[in-house]
């Protein structure tokens, strides 16, 4: 929680996507797992309806709870209004910050753990939003970590709870456990064999919902799908994790079957598809982030079957993050005007993929 100089702050932000580049369990089709818990203080209006002094009071109460705890000693405390918009977008692209927080706002603070896996947002839609992220399929682990964070805070703060509804939240879609668990999946196989809709419809029947890569209101980009629990009321945390885990595993199985079928039955078609994506990335001079992501998705499929060595999943995950607008600019050392950004992205990709070929 120390005050840091400008360069070390920049360094801190720069590393915020580090967690994403590890290879987690089932990394061939699960990019990351996330657990988020929403909690509120009693009686004080929820953030969207609170006045300045009420927001400040919430912030003070939570700061007081976090401050003396050795558990949070190494967490970095950032006030959103002190972070410039590029850095905010960078943190959002690293999935540490919500879209809501990226907009800025008063009395909004985020605490980030030294390994960047845990972030605690204060005065988001709810007074407290805690989340834990990790690469690959690790739902139980991220849930355990975030429960620990919650328990630690719960020792010093009494969270508002209703006798009938459980933990209360600003939006009734979160009431009960306040828990949202999600897995980010990469499902190019199911998309290619045209089964994705059917599978996602099946998923919807378990009270789970499917979204795009940046959560609520985001498009399906590059065959990436986020599956999360919709129901938070009337279910225990254990039940929520159990259902999501078993459904996600089944989706992974279907994806693997689809990939097997593709590579066995239509090897030339798949090779063509992946090589085309690679060629475009190696030779194009203008590339927006959505297009880059859709090509990288195909590349990822090729890596999975060992056709693009020495390129690995970790390096590809890095590229997927670095084609995002804020990352691209940050790596280049400052703002790049929109007009030249697509060119810079294309050149970066050319360079990074220059020695790769399908084999």
């Amino acid at each position: 929680m120390s005050e840091q100089s400008d360069t070390s702050f920049t360094q801190f932000i720069r590393c915020s996507d580090r967690w994403l580049c590890n290879d987690g369990p089932l990394h061939h089709s699960v990019i990351s797992s996330r657990a988020r818990i929403a909690r509120n203080l009693g009686h004080i209006p929820f953030a969207p309806r609170a006045r300045s002094e009420q927001l400040r009071a919430v912030l003070e109460r939570i700061d007081e709870a976090i401050g003396p705890s050795p558990f949070f000693a190494d967490f970095q405390r950032l006030s959103i209004s002190d972070i410039n918009s590029l850095h905010r977008l960078f943190l959002k692209e690293s999935h540490l910050l919500s879209a809501e927080f990226e907009q800025g706002g008063e009395c909004r603070v985020i605490y980030i753990s030294p390994d960047y896996r845990v972030s605690i947002m204060i005065n988001e839609e709810d007074h407290l939003r805690m989340q834990c992220l990790d690469a690959g399929f690790q739902l139980r682990k991220v849930l355990a970590v975030i429960k620990e964070v919650e328990a630690e805070l719960g020792r010093r703060i009494e969270f508002a709870r209703h006798r009938k509804f459980g933990y209360v939240t600003a939006c009734p879609t979160n009431v009960g456990t306040g828990l949202r668990l999600s897995v980010m999946m990469h499902l190019p196989g199911l998309v290619l064999v045209n089964r994705i809709e059917e599978i996602l419809q099946g998923v919807a029947q378990y009270g789970l919902t499917v979204r795009g890569i940046y959560g609520e209101h985001s498009e399906h980009l590059g065959d990436f799908f986020q599956i999360s629990n919709e129901v938070t009321l009337g279910k225990s945390e254990e039940e929520i994790v159990e259902v999501l885990e078993s459904v996600a595993k089944q989706v992974v199985d279907h994806e693997m079957k689809a990939r097997d079928a593709l590579f066995e039955q239509r090897p030339v078609v798949v090779k063509d598809l992946i090589s085309r994506a690679l060629s475009v990335l190696q030779h194009a001079f203008i590339m927006d982030s959505a297009e880059a992501l859709s090509h990288l998705s195909k590349i990822r499929l090729g890596i999975d079957r060992g056709h693009l060595r020495p390129l690995g999943h970790g390096e590809l995950s890095r590229l997927m993050v670095e084609v995002q607008p804020a990352h691209l600019q940050f790596m280049a050392g400052g703002q790049i005007p929109v007009g030249t950004r697509d060119n810079r992205r294309a050149e970066m990709l050319q360079q990074r993929l220059s020695r790769i070929s399908y084999n």
Binding site: G42, H43, H162, K164, I199, Y206, V231, K235
Partner: protein, 255 residues
């Protein structure tokens, strides 16, 4: 979370009627209509058009009587609904309905009864898990029932999708194990109807139909090699294919 204000699908006026239809395969879609188009959409929504003066008078009288009755029945509640306000934060229930965001923890007390509708829509239940303190025995069993019902489709639907559309299969259609029997599904159907969870009921109904249509097909054998035929999914939809594929490429349309 924001709430869209829907327009009529046939004109630009704001919609006053929402019709939720459940199509094939449990696909749910909403239709939004203004008053006028709602009347043309369904005979049930049609206002009776009086033909002559006598009928008109009768109609008016009847309407008036009905209105007075309804007003008497709804007395206090109707008046109070749009105006109810949380004593702690001052949020009006009408304002909540627009944003779906409550104002403070006390709103859950202030609007406790009014929230049931939204909670049921969002979560399928209107109270938290049975281990929550204060839950009575009866409520506990209701919640537990809802949970077990929610858990069951896990096996069913994946099995269903598995049998309905195999990318690549090495065996015959999986013989339905306990979880996938028609009798079980029919029980689920009854439960879903009891819960008034008609969307789930429609899905279970489709599963039953699909299962019933699939069962006799297990006997079908390939004309070329006498291996069992299995249901497969191709660009043209479902068909029967030889389970020995790719060794045998025999196919047959699914009756």
């Amino acid at each position: 979370m924001s709430v869209e204000i829907h327009k009529c699908m046939n004109c630009e006026r704001p919609a006053t009627t929402k019709i939720t239809k459940i199509g094939k395969g449990g696909k749910v879609f909403d239709i939004y209509l203004c008053d006028e188009h709602a009347q043309t959409f369904s005979p049930y929504l049609k206002k009776t058009q009086p033909a002559n003066l006598v009928e008109l008078l009768q109609h008016l009288l009847k309407q008036q009587g009905a209105m007075a009755e309804a007003a008497a029945a709804a007395a206090g509640a109707e008046e109070e609904l749009p105006g109810r306000t949380c004593a702690n934060c001052g949020l009006n229930y009408g304002a909540y309905r627009k944003t779906l965001l409550l104002g403070c923890s006390d709103c859950y007390d202030s609007f406790e009864d009014l929230l049931s509708h939204d909670l049921r829509k969002m979560h399928g239940v209107i109270r938290h898990a049975p281990e929550e303190e204060g839950a009575t025995l009866a409520e506990t069993s209701v919640a537990a029932d809802a949970e077990s019902a929610a858990k069951v489709p896990l096996v069913e639907t994946i099995n269903k999708t598995e049998t309905a559309a195999q990318v690549k299969t090495d065996a015959a259609v999986k013989s339905p194990d306990g979880a996938l029997s028609v009798a079980d599904l029919k029980r689920k159907l009854r439960q879903a109807i009891d819960r008034e969870d008609f969307e789930q009921a429609a899905r279970v109904r489709d599963s039953i139909r699909m299962l019933e249509s699939l069962q006799p097909k297990e006997e079908v054998r390939c004309k070329a090699c006498n291996a069992p035929m299995v249901v497969k999914h191709g660009p043209g939809g479902l068909f029967l294919g030889c389970s020995e594929y790719p060794k045998c490429r025999e196919t047959r349309p699914l009756e």
